[in-house]
């Protein structure tokens, strides 16, 4: 009756945002990220005072900075993770173009902070590295292009995305920043793989890589020496790797104790690239394995959740971000344990950093947005299975 008089009650489009978010978000990954951030603060307390002392700041300057930027990063992450995939895509593509403009303008306005590579914009209170923001943007745009190519009568998006990736790689190589270039290429490769790259092509590429490596090893003395030096079991204890290895060995299973470590005094990058060595020395293998487990949880859980995803864009973009996140962690820790040749790469969310933390927050926020559970036509899957 009431309805006949007043019309129907305006139907609510859905549940309130926050409860729905909490119900659908991947809470395991979220917890892992928060834990990683906490561990980062904890390790920063140990690792950064020597640097602060050297640069003339109060001891916990870098920890406070980490907390401020980390807080901002977490905020950004929460907000992003509440967005719908479509909004993420739009903002991501927009963000990509802004970041790309920033990257292209680096040679003009950028600074190198005396490190020999022009990668940063100096903003007075801090610095911004456009390539950090470019990565999630590129993943979103690339995934969109690839997803579009899967439409019937769609554009050749895979080719477009490859060209885009190569352009970015060229810009990054100019800086030079080969680490980020490798990550961008890897991100594209992962998306291409999941988007259905022909297996023969993949096998061929792998074969070509092995062949090229062998040829280079046999013909280029420089290359061979680097590889041999990396493979040789002796570590010069005065190199960064040497200190890191020594720190891990000193730490043993349970560490030398909080604040008792010494590696942070000898390693200039103890608070960023080699923070895992600080963790290993002071807290031992236990904490290191816990950190590894946290990264594994985020990466692997995201991949598993994406397996159910029906939307190709979400699947591809989520895969790209999750894999980049995992790979960055693997490379950072692989360097510290001498599985990989030295390459400056931070440990996401744990390493001390400014704008890169915010960029990481954006990326993880996107990942969480993509991996939220959505109706995925599970019934049809079940039916299809039973038909077989």
């Amino acid at each position: 009756m009431t309805e006949m008089v007043y019309g129907t009650v305006a139907a609510r489009p859905g549940e309130p945002v926050l409860p729905r978010w909490w119900r659908t978000v991947d809470r395991w990954s979220l917890s892992a990220i928060l834990l990683l951030f906490g561990i980062g603060i904890l390790l920063g307390l140990a690792a950064s005072p020597p640097l602060a002392a050297k640069n003339g700041f109060e001891p916990f300057y870098y920890v406070k900075k980490q907390a401020v930027f980390g807080g901002a990063a977490l905020l950004v992450m929460f907000v992003t993770s509440m967005m719908s995939p479509k909004l993420v895509r739009r903002l991501g593509v927009l963000g990509f173009f802004i970041a790309f403009a920033g990257l292209a303008l680096l040679p003009v306005f950028g600074t190198d902070f005396g490190k020999g590579a022009v990668r940063w914009f100096s903003l007075g209170f801090g610095s911004v590295q456009p390539s950090e923001f470019l990565k999630p943007g590129f993943i979103v745009l690339g995934a969109w292009l690839m997803a579009a190519s899967m439409e019937i009568n769609g554009p050749p998006g895979k080719l477009y995305s490859l060209v885009l990736a190569l352009i970015i790689v060229a810009f990054l190589a100019m800086q030079p920043d080969f680490g980020q270039a490798v990550l961008v290429l890897f991100g594209w490769g992962v998306m291409y793989f999941v988007a259905g790259a022909p297996l023969i092509l993949l096998i061929g590429l792998a074969g070509a890589a092995v062949f090229a490596g062998t040829v280079a090893y046999q013909n280029s003395e420089h290359f061979a020496r680097r590889i041999d030096g990396f493979l040789s079991p002796e570590v010069d204890p005065t190199t960064q790797i040497g200190y890191a290895t020594n720190a891990i060995q000193e730490g043993g299973f349970f560490g030398v104790g909080v604040g008792e470590g010494t590696v942070k005094w000898s390693l200039p990058d103890a608070h960023t690239d080699f923070i895992i060595a600080v963790a290993a020395e002071e807290y031992g293998l236990v904490l290191v394995l816990f950190i590894i487990a946290l990264y594994a949880v985020v990466t692997v859980r995201s991949l598993f959740r994406l397996m159910k995803e029906r939307d190709p864009f979400i699947r591809l973009a989520g895969t790209g971000i999750a894999c980049l996140f995992g790979l960055q962690a693997v490379i950072n820790m692989g360097v510290a344990v001498r599985l990989l040749p030295a390459k400056g790469m931070t440990l996401p969310f744990v390493s001390n950093g400014g704008s890169s933390l915010v960029a990481g927050g954006i990326a993880i926020g996107m990942l969480l947005a993509f991996t939220r559970s959505r109706p995925q036509g599970e019934m049809s899957d079940i039916l299809r299975r039973s038909w077989r």
Binding site: M150, E151, I152, N153, V190, F193, V194, A195, G196, V235, D236, P237, T238, G242, Y243, T245, N246, I248, Q249, E250, G251, G252, F253, T262, S266, A280, G284, L285, V288, L289, I292, A293, Y295, A296, T299, V300, L303, F304, L306, M307, E309, R310, P312, R315, T319, C323, G326, V330, M333, G334, V337, R338, L339, S380, R384
Partner: protein, 594 residues
Amino acid sequence: MTRTPLRPLARVLEARAKGENPDAIERENIRLRHERMRDRMRVRAESRLLMMAVMFVMLFAVVGARMGVLASTEPSEPRASAGGESIVAQRADIVDRNGRLLATNLVTNALYAQPPMMIEPARAARELAKIFPDLDEEELVEDFTGKRKFLWIKRKISPEQQQMVHDIGEPGLLFGPREMRLYPNGRLAAHVLGGAGFGREGVHSAEVIGVAGVEKAFDDYLRDPANGGAPLELSLDLTVQATARRVLEGGMKIMDAKGATAILMDARTGELVSLVSLPDFDPNDRPVPLTEGDPSDSPLFNRAVQGVYELGSTFKVFTAAQALEMGVAAPGTMVDTQGPLRWGKFRIRDFHDYGSEMSLTDVIVKSSNIGTARLAQQIGGDRQRVFLERLGLTEPTPVELVEAPGIAPLLPARWSELSTMTISYGHGLSASPLHLAAAYASVVNGGCKVAPTLVRRAPEPGCAERVISEKTSRTIRGMLREVVTRGTASFAEVEGYAVGGKTGTADKPRPRGGYYEDRVIATFAGLFPAHDPDYVLIVTLDEPTVSALGEAQRTAGWTAVPVASELIRRVAPLLDMRPEIEPGPAFGVKLTGN
């Protein structure tokens, strides 16, 4: 434009027939196909994502396992010694044939600075500049206050200097222990020893490596810990070396020569008892090599080994020896010396006109170019070359100096008959004085080839490689003795030591071709005692002049020979040789053995 087929055709056609819009049907069809395709792709992506997940699990597991392995191993090195790998600085001593020290090590300190630890950089710089006058105070201040975290100030400092630096009391000035090479005899044997410098350098130690001479040639041996610090024993005799150097330096000054070298070699074993090259240098403080100009003007240049010269008439002995050995001539055979000897457009002359012919002995004694050239013509170029090869005059000497292997004699490009004739009296083939010493020793010691060496070596019984017969060698020795008693080297006579030898004076070649008129290389190649030579001596003077008989004399008989005779007079007693003085006839006593 590409035409996309209408699908599903049957229904589209049916709709068209009914006048309906077929687009809706087509869209519906595309949606369904899309749905199916998505499902297919998701199934494929599912397996690929699973592969990725497994890959990441494996990667993380590998990193974790590696962490576990590392954590469970002991640290390879204690932290305290992480400063750098230890550098072995032990270097064996070098001694002469009697065990006297030629080179040893001395513990010293290197001075370095760590500016971040400095309290008063300006004062430290001022005090340092006071202690070391060669340091510049302003530069030091700049270094100490700049961005540098570490810098070397001095490689070697004395204990007194170290104490003075201590007294500055600056914690940023630090010392690194060093072993430095010390040559207690200074310039003596500088060219033989060469010198040593620092190789890899760390704060706690530095490697001492040889940079020249025997120090470099025996670098591996001297640094080999397996030798247990046993010294390297050279064939040099320190006292003889000191005397030879003193005499040669005096002679060089008197004869106004710009360089000189003396080689004293054991005629049987080839051991170099003394090797002097002037000008020389102090191996404790090696001068830097010349960057421009003629390297042979540098004091680092070892004239005895590195200098290749046309050694002039000293080569005539080889021609005579070969002629005797081949039976071309006997000592008494008359040789045509009618001059000048024309060959094509060239003329060969003698210093004096010796008449139309003279005996082979006189050809050597008077040093006739024409006579030697005639003999060489009879010997022939090929055989001459083979003979000189056997004497070692065509390839680098095997002496244990790092400089030696690169110094090969300069041979004529084509061994023509004219070359044969000029080489017979020492022109057209340039060799080092050391080559000459070894060849002379081989010819006069009874005909056994010797190889020059700087390492003490026991005499070998028998004759490893015969160059000429015992008889020829004896004849040559007689001729060389006659050169001194009645020939060009009359100043070489040292009573009681029966010196024999041959002079050689060669015009110096101009760098741009042709020869100088007034610059010569004067050489005396001698042996003593002539009847059974123990030693061969080569004295070479570079551009000597001495005024005698009212004019400037440059020939070896006036320049190199007097120096050589003084050298023998002073050195022979040091070599434990007794003068054998024949009692004059007035005594009327006949010596019957000693």
